[in-house]
């Protein structure tokens, strides 16, 4: 589903991604962790073409992201993205946030888009908030609306960029539960998170990044029990407590 080959990226002289190789198969959930500034978010943003890169190749569902002939707008409809700070459109209700892209990009009728949006809001557990503006929703509710907004495009892949980092502890679970459901439902997912409980439960692979490189990878158990790299061990000690 996603193939990343020898991906490198620089901001000026600063190398932020260093020779990343990764393959994600359909239905897999891959968790990416690592200290801040290690290139996790940048990696996600290279996958949906929000950021250009200088070397290597990213192939999503058979389409090369960096190929100039690729229609990035079309590609992005296949890749949902959920942000750390939710980023709901402030002037629209939850329902309008969700229906905007299906109506404007997929040219669905208002009625059809709203029916789908209500179904998604039920799925994330807040159908009663359909007509609320983001300012009137809690962080956890906003993030669930944001997930519904991405799902409304019926993407093949969902990317999450630290989706619970900006949330109060009591709201983290409600968002993680939605993500766990999605993962178990067969969605292909890349999740940047430090929620190791989540990683344990659903991750098919865990990647540890540092200074733009993948320095450790493993399926769940091996990763936690015996990290090979001292950096990983140090980091895991901090987040697992």
């Amino acid at each position: 589903m996603i193939e990343i080959r020898d991906l490198s990226k620089w901001y000026g002289d600063l190398q932020v991604l260093d020779n990343i190789n990764e393959e994600i198969k359909q239905g897999q959930t891959v968790v990416v962790c690592g200290p801040s500034g290690s290139g996790k978010s940048t990696l996600l943003r290279c996958i949906n073409g929000l950021e250009p890169f200088q070397e290597g190749e990213v192939i999503v569902d058979g389409v090369s992201v960096s190929d100039p002939s690729t229609n990035l707008y079309k590609l992005r409809t296949e890749i949902g993205m959920v942000f750390q700070r939710f980023e709901l459109y402030a002037h629209m209700t939850a329902l309008q946030n969700i229906t905007l892209a299906p109506m404007k990009v997929r040219k669905k009728s208002k009625k059809e888009a709203e029916a789908k949006a209500m179904e998604l809001l039920r799925r994330v557990g807040i159908p009663e908030k359909a007509h609320e503006y983001p300012a009137n929703l809690s962080g956890g509710q906003q993030q669930r609306v944001a997930i519904a907004r991405s799902l409304a495009m019926e993407p093949k892949i969902m990317m999450f960029d630290e989706p619970t980092s900006a949330l109060d502890p009591e709201m983290i679970k409600e968002v993680l539960d939605v993500m766990i459901d999605l993962s178990k439902g067969g969605m292909t997912m890349i999740v940047v998170t430090h929620e190791m409980g989540f990683a344990r439960e659903v991750a098919d692979e865990i990647i540890f990044m540092d200074e733009g490189r993948i320095i450790e990878r493993g399926t769940d158990i091996s990763f936690f029990k015996n990290p090979k790299n001292p950096r990983t061990k140090n980091f895991l000690d901090k987040i697992l407590l």
Binding site: T77, M81, F83, L88, Y89, A90, L100, A101, Y133
Partner: protein, 212 residues
């Protein structure tokens, strides 16, 4: 007397029309100017910035004059005062609305725009459905203030012989010689209409504090 009132109100209608055209054009062009001012493309940013800095450092009355006297040389025939005034006002006001909207555009988080892109919206769709509506809502109080200023500034169009409200009042005054009553009438009409607008503006500000 009755004739004079109709003459004056006719002038007021010209003032209103000039204001409406100036605002419609000024805000539309202002949106483009604001977008140009946040553009990363140098060939867009620099010309737009030059235009904004040029016009904002010239008094409005000179823009009106300059346009009225330079255009005939370019076009080859004199322009009527009204279209000439409308175009000068649009050129002038667009720079002010443009700067107000630039601030509005910059207040919209980059993340909201990226969220739009991530669902497959194009640049034009993201700008049209997310960037512009949020910026206009946030900047509405400043935009209404600028609109009131535009409305008052329309009087300056008398310099190119446009028979707007104040100009016509001067004409009537030359015959009737009742300056205090006549200009008092003009002042009161401006006062009332501007006051109503500022009350409306304040209500939008209250709404904004409630938060969206």
């Amino acid at each position: 007397m009755i004739k004079n009132i109709f003459f004056l109100l006719g002038g007021y209608w010209i003032t209103v029309k000039l204001t409406l055209f100036a605002l419609a054009g000024g805000i539309s062009l202002g949106i483009l100017v604001g977008l140009g001012r946040i553009s990363k493309k140098k060939w867009v940013y620099y010309p737009v910035t030059f235009y904004v800095n040029l016009i904002r450092n010239i008094p409005l009355i000179l823009v009106i004059f300059w346009f009225y006297f330079v255009m005939p040389i370019i076009v080859g025939r004199p322009l009527d005062p009204f279209p000439s005034a409308v175009i000068s006002f649009i050129i002038f006001e667009a720079t002010y609305f443009g700067e107000i909207l630039r601030a509005g555009f910059q207040s919209v988080s980059k993340g909201q725009i990226e969220a739009g892109y991530s669902t497959g919206l194009t640049y034009i769709q993201t700008t049209r459905y997310i960037l512009i509506p949020i910026a206009i809502r946030r900047m509405l109080p400043s935009m209404i203030t600028q609109s009131i200023v535009t409305y008052q500034d329309t009087c300056l169009a008398f310099v190119i012989g446009l028979h707007e409200f104040v100009r016509r009042t001067t004409i009537v005054d030359n015959i009737e010689v009742r300056s205090i009553q006549l200009f008092g009438f003009v002042a009161i009409l401006f006062l009332i209409t501007c006051y109503i607008s500022s009350v409306v503006s304040r209500r939008f500000e209250v709404k904004r504090e409630r938060g969206y």
